[in-house]
Amino acid sequence: MMKVTVEVMSWLKEDFNHKSQGSLVLEEVVTPGTSIIDLIHLMADKYPKFGKKVFNGQKQELTDYCLVILNGSIVSASAELNTELKEGDTIKFLPFFFGG
């Protein structure tokens, strides 16, 4: 097993039932070989409100609801979501919002 840090930013925190200001930091224990998309599935199961928005329908397809940042770098291409996580990695979930 290995530990990764999940940081939830801005209004996405509400999907994780966290209402106070500042970011929400979670320590998650995952099995070796877990990829970014696997982690999103895990978080979606754990936090159904998030799961309902981050996936279309039967969890087959990601929506553009959430932007993922792995160790400070944006994951923009869908193929990168298969990247395997390493011990100590930090994954940030941000609202995918453009405009304003």
Binding site: M9, S10, W11, Q21, G22, N56, E61, L62, T63, D64, L67, I69, G72, S73, I74, S76, A77, S78, K92, L94, P95, F97, F98, G99, G100
Partner: protein
């Protein structure tokens, strides 16, 4: 007499300021259905009546102010108004909008739009009440800021706060600052491409329209109510409905598109001081909604901490927080509230202003501009008081402010040397909105190729990409995917701006909006017809702008605008490495000639713009 029209007044008001003559002009149904209103209708009139080779300040420039077929109906956000003219910053098309009440009140008064021509000898304002329009003396309003002007006009005409809507320019517009804006209803700003300067060049200080007793008659009120509710349900899914744009700043910093210190960094931990979750709980706020809008977007705000405690104004929009916080490296949200409101009152676009101020601060830090050069101002990063003083110098064209009043591109080129590389602008002289576009490639491309000085699409507000034949998601850092998204969605925003509705409410709900148009007007508009209205506007503007000299060789960013970020989440992202390929793909999707920039004849024919083909042929022939 033609068939009865619904959703429209069927009239525009024409005002010749030189001759002090006012008359009404009828709009026929065929014209209305082809151009709708707002931006597309304005584009038609500007193209038909303005010489593209003329200067924006020529009295023969037209200044179009218009609502659209949904204006003043029960569709939330339909009080907005669209301005179309030859803009001061690029000397090409300008199309920019303000929310509030003016568009609805104009329709109630019996007009879809107003077109000004000529220039007054002395300052005037236009007063419209129950179908009657008159030009009134505005000499006593000269020098007043935008809020003072609104208050003065309401006082002298004896109207209460919400029984009249006033659009005005401040000192910046009077003094022809190239990025002067128009402010309405105390805080709603039509900002882009120097339209305030166009008003100033016509010596038109303000437009005032009374609420009046008129109504907009729609074809099917029951159906429109159903669709309006569906539009509202869609709006509620966006964070803006409950929070306005106040919450965006932290998301922007986290994703690397918050403009920080003139694009010198992408890290700003103080974002958490500015975000709506905090400022709306710490500062005093009071709702100030627009026409028929139930959202929690617009608020008044009173500062309750820091050196600007007690200052009251409108809650800044995201772009104002970004401009007067991170972009100038200023860390007090109270000071940002003060600057946002004071700059609005002077009547200057906050975005261009912040690129100007950020560039001045960088030049000051590096010793290229000194206190002596800057009329005694110490332009250190984050100095709010010096920023306010500099903005006043710009608005009144005093000292170095007179050079800065021409915009950041001009000022940088005047100064020359290495300082040119630090300024953020495009080859057409326009600038980005309040974002670091190196982290938002869609807006980067859109801004640079735009013909109106700012966005012509906004994919962030598109609920369903599949209606454009696109996949549901895209890679935001793929040159090919980004240029495809821009090319295929272009036209969406001018479509909205031809209906003249608030983007935050109606989003890009194109199918629903077509249904709303049908209920309001009785026209059986399908998605393709609606989308074509937006594309039509863009193609008219493109043919005009190429003739005005805004050719494809100018579609490039300045060195800093196109630079590679050095830190933060977008470190190393390089849009320029695939720039030419992006342009190739974009031009292909628009149906435009890559070399000349002009629309292909078949593109114009598909949009019912065959009458422009002869102009295109003439330009190609070098005449």
């Amino acid at each position: 007499m033609g068939a009865k029209l619904y959703g429209t007044t069927g009239k525009i008001l024409r005002v010749d300021l030189s001759k002090e003559r006012i008359w009404e002009e009828a709009l026929d149904e065929a014209t209305l259905r082809k151009y709708f209103g707002g931006t597309c209708l304005g584009a038609k009139y500007i193209y038909d009546e303005v010489d593209p080779k003329s200067q924006w300040s020529d009295p023969e420039n037209r200044f179009f102010v218009g609502s659209g077929p949904l204006g003043g109906t029960r569709v939330a956000g339909s009080g907005s108004v669209s301005f179309v003219t030859k803009g001061a910053l690029t000397n090409g098309f300008a199309s920019t909008q303000a929310n509030g009440f003016f568009g609805a009140f104009l329709k109630f008064s019996g007009f879809d739009a107003i077109i000004f021509q000529g220039a007054a000898t002395n300052w005037k304002y236009l007063y419209i009440h129950d179908g009657i329009a008159e030009l009134r003396d505005a000499r006593h309003l000269k020098g007043q800021d935008t809020w003072e002007t609104e208050e003065s006009i309401k006082k002298e005409l004896e109207y209460s706060e919400r029984s009249m809507s006033v659009l005005s320019i401040g000192p910046a517009g009077e003094n022809l600052v190239k990025f002067a804006c128009i402010v309405g209803d105390k805080g709603h700003v039509a900002a882009h491409n120097g339209i305030g300067a166009v008003m100033g060049s016509k010596k038109l200080k303000a437009l005032a329209v009374a609420r009046g007793k008129g109504k907009v008659e729609v074809k099917d009120a029951e159906q429109l109510a159903i669709v309006a509710k569906q539009i509202l349900e869609s709006a509620k899914k966006m964070v803006v409905f409950d929070w306005g744009t106040s919450r965006v700043i932290s998301a922007a910093e986290g994703a690397g598109w918050l403009p920080i210190k003139n694009y010198n960094t992408n890290v700003f931990p103080e974002h958490s001081l500015f975000v709506g979750d905090r400022v709306r709980s710490v500062f005093e706020v009071k709702p100030a909604p627009c026409w028929a809008c139930p959202s929690h977007h617009c608020h008044l705000m009173k500062v309750t901490e820091g050196p600007y405690t007690g200052y009251s104004g409108e809650e800044p929009e995201y772009e104002q927080w970004a401009a007067w916080g991170p972009q100038i490296y200023q860390k007090d949200p109270g000071a940002a509230v003060m600057l946002a409101n004071e700059v609005d009152r002077l009547g200057v676009d906050c975005n261009e202003s912040s690129w100007v101020v950020g560039w001045v601060m960088e030049c000051y830090e590096k010793g290229i501009l000194t206190k002596d050069d800057l009329d005694g101002l110490e332009m250190t990063w984050g100095n709010a008081e010096a920023t306010l003083a500099l903005m006043k110098n710009i608005a009144f064209r005093r000292g170095y402010g007179n050079i800065l009043a021409e915009g950041v591109k001009h000022a940088a080129e005047q100064l020359g040397g290495e300082a040119v590389n630090w300024a953020i602008y495009t080859g057409k002289r326009n600038t980005p909105r309040g974002h670091d576009h190196r982290g938002r490639w869609v807006e980067f491309l859109d801004t640079i190729v735009a013909d109106i000085g700012t966005y012509e699409t906004n994919p962030g507000f598109i609920p369903d990409f599949t209606i454009y034949g696109l996949p549901k998601t895209y890679d935001i850092f793929s040159h090919e995917e980004v240029s495809t998204v821009v090319g295929k969605t272009k036209g969406s925003l001018p479509f909205l701006d031809s209906l003249v509705t608030c983007m935050f409410i109606t989003r890009f709900e194109l199918p629903l909006l077509c249904q709303a148009v049908k209920a309001a007007t009785g026209w059986d508009v399908d998605l393709q017809e609606g989308f074509n209205v937006g594309r039509r506007a863009l193609n008219i503007m493109r043919v005009f702008n190429i003739q005005a000299g805004l050719t494809p060789d100018k579609e490039r960013p300045s060195a800093r605008y196109g630079s590679i970020p050095v830190d933060g989440p977008i470190k190393g992202k390089d849009i320029m490495s695939g720039w030419e390929n992006m342009l190739d793909n974009y031009y292909k999707l628009m149906g435009w000639d890559r070399k000349t920039g002009l629309p292909l004849p078949e593109t114009l024919s598909q949009l019912g713009l065959e009458h422009l083909i002869k102009d295109v042929d003439r330009v190609k022939g070098g005449n």
